[in-house]
């Protein structure tokens, strides 16, 4: 997992699937980004390399959304596969997709 900060936006790249075994590592990384996030206007989560997502992965996304919006920062998801889009539509999370 890594991030790129461009002006007032941070894009987070996961590099692995959004599944239970990987989520603790993602959460540890997010903790280190928290200080940077509060100074931004938007966080973008790129799901470019994500082919598989489970319910724990979805709770990670929502958890990140809650953390970010609590700081008054915008949140969007980019590059979701058609499968992920279908799942997010079922969960009425498609508003987060761009």
């Amino acid at each position: 997992m890594y991030n790129i900060i461009n002006e007032e936006s941070m894009t987070i790249f996961l590099e692995k699937d959004l599944v239970a075994p990987n989520v603790p590592g993602f959460n540890d990384n997010i903790k280190t980004y928290s200080k940077d996030i509060s100074a931004l206007s938007q966080v973008v989560l790129s799901l470019d390399t994500v082919n598989n997502i489970d319910s724990i992965g979805v709770t990670f996304v929502i958890g990140l959304y809650k953390k970010v919006t609590k700081l008054g920062v915008g949140f969007k998801i980019h590059d979701a596969s058609s499968n992920v889009k279908q799942l997010f539509k079922l969960m009425k999370l498609d508003d987060l997709l761009e």
Binding site: V19, A20, N51, N52, I53, D54, S55, I56, V58, T59, I62, G63, K66, S81, N83, Q86, L87, K89, L90, M91, K92, L93
Partner: protein, 387 residues
């Protein structure tokens, strides 16, 4: 008290090792064997914690004895320290590959006698004890899971025929106890049902599932309840108990709530894969493609109720994603496969609806096995028919 077996065809060697260890270690009982055959007899008739094994012995040598030990389920866990005059790397490698823990060459050096052998024996015994404790805890845990599974099965709805609705359930937990939840009850002239899939598996998910059952039934007691209000009520209750800490993620679930009354199904969906309605008159199956937010994720989540008419003989099939998703690859959105399978089983729905759940479960079981996979998550299915 530990039991150590010393195997060597030369009695003087056995005496030497015994003497070294007796001086340095406490609470040891010694057994002796002069060849590999006697080794196998001793381990068969006694509880042995460690074997110090010579390789060159008559009748059955140490290599054969080691192979026999490591291929036997009962004895393979006994740690073996090899003590041999053979110093070629091939012998050392062979015994270590076969599963020996350590290899000492004869004769012993003064350091071997004073320090190394006693310490290595002590460490081997400690490791063996830890492994035995892990095994014991594993057995205990499996028994606890079985007990929890029995309890969870007890919590499943019992009755299969209400005044105007028949129902059937199938529940297949993945790890002894599941995080999927099913309930169905009749209150006056209404039949209420709920299917939920708690995030995660195992004991924590099972406990959460029990809590959801209680919340479901408690919330139903409130007047003028509707499916959307029920989901909202449970959601609010979860946040009031757990707050907005990360711990609330233990109670995050997808759920589908339905109410059958006056030939109508009113439902609200919280991210449950799309249920299927069977229409008897037209003999077709139709998915209910209406989604909603997971319960337990956002405190102010809003749910919507929808109503569809039902006729006599119509059925509602609700299932959890464990039916179609094996966790391998991208099959987490394969609910369309459930719709297809219902189409293929339309004759069963028409003529023997009581066999439908078993049929669809085994259909997916064969499908997964055909792909080299299997059910990896809990599976909860319910089929209700308006009679």
């Amino acid at each position: 008290m530990y039991n150590i077996l010393i195997a060597d065809d030369v009695s003087m060697n056995r005496m030497l090792i015994r003497s070294i260890l007796k001086n340095k270690l406490k609470d040891i009982e010694f057994f002796e064997a002069e060849n590999g055959k006697v080794v196998l007899e001793v381990v068969k008739n006694n509880t042995i914690d460690l074997i110090i094994l010579d390789l060159i012995m008559p009748v059955m040598d140490g290599f054969e004895a080691l192979e026999a030990l490591k291929s036997n389920e009962k004895f393979k866990h006994i740690p073996v320290i090899v003590n041999s005059a053979l110093s070629e790397i091939s012998s050392i490698e062979k015994t270590l590959v076969m599963g020996a823990m350590e290899y000492f060459t004869k004769p012993f050096s003064p350091d071997d006698i004073e320090i190394i052998l006693p310490l290595k024996v002590k460490n081997a015994l400690k490791l063996h004890e830890q492994n035995k404790e892990i095994e014991r805890l594993n057995i205990e845990l499996n028994q606890e899971l079985k007990n929890a599974n029995s309890f969870a099965k007890y919590m499943l709805p019992k009755k299969s025929r209400f005044n105007k609705v028949d129902f059937d359930i199938l529940y297949h937990p993945s790890l002894g106890i599941g995080g999927d939840f099913l309930d169905c009850l009749e209150i006056n002239d209404e039949v209420w049902f709920m299917v939920a899939d708690i995030t995660g598996h195992g004991i924590a998910a099972g406990m959460a599932s029990s809590m959801i059952k209680i919340l479901f039934r408690m919330t139903l007691e409130q007047p003028e309840m509707t499916p959307d209000k029920l989901l909202r009520g449970i959601n609010k209750r979860i946040f009031s108990i757990f707050g907005d800490e990360d711990l609330s993620n233990y109670i995050v679930f997808t759920g589908f709530v339905g109410r059958i009354k006056d030939c109508q199904l009113t439902y609200a969906n919280a991210a449950q894969p799309y249920p299927i309605i069977y229409r008897k008159a037209e003999n077709i199956v139709v998915p209910i493609e209406s989604g909603g937010m997971l319960v337990g994720m956002l405190e102010d989540a809003v749910y919507e109720s929808h109503t569809v008419p039902l006729n006599s003989g119509d059925g509602i099939f609700v299932y959890t994603d464990g039916l179609f998703s094996t966790g391998k690859g991208s099959d987490f959105t394969n609910w369309s496969l459930v719709h297809e399978s219902c189409n293929e089983l339309i004759t069963v729905l028409e003529k023997k609806p009581e066999n439908f759940l078993e049929n669809i479960f085994w259909k997916f079981s064969f499908l997964h096995k055909g792909e080299g996979t299997d059910f990896s998550d809990d599976v909860a299915l319910i089929y209700l028919t308006l009679n």
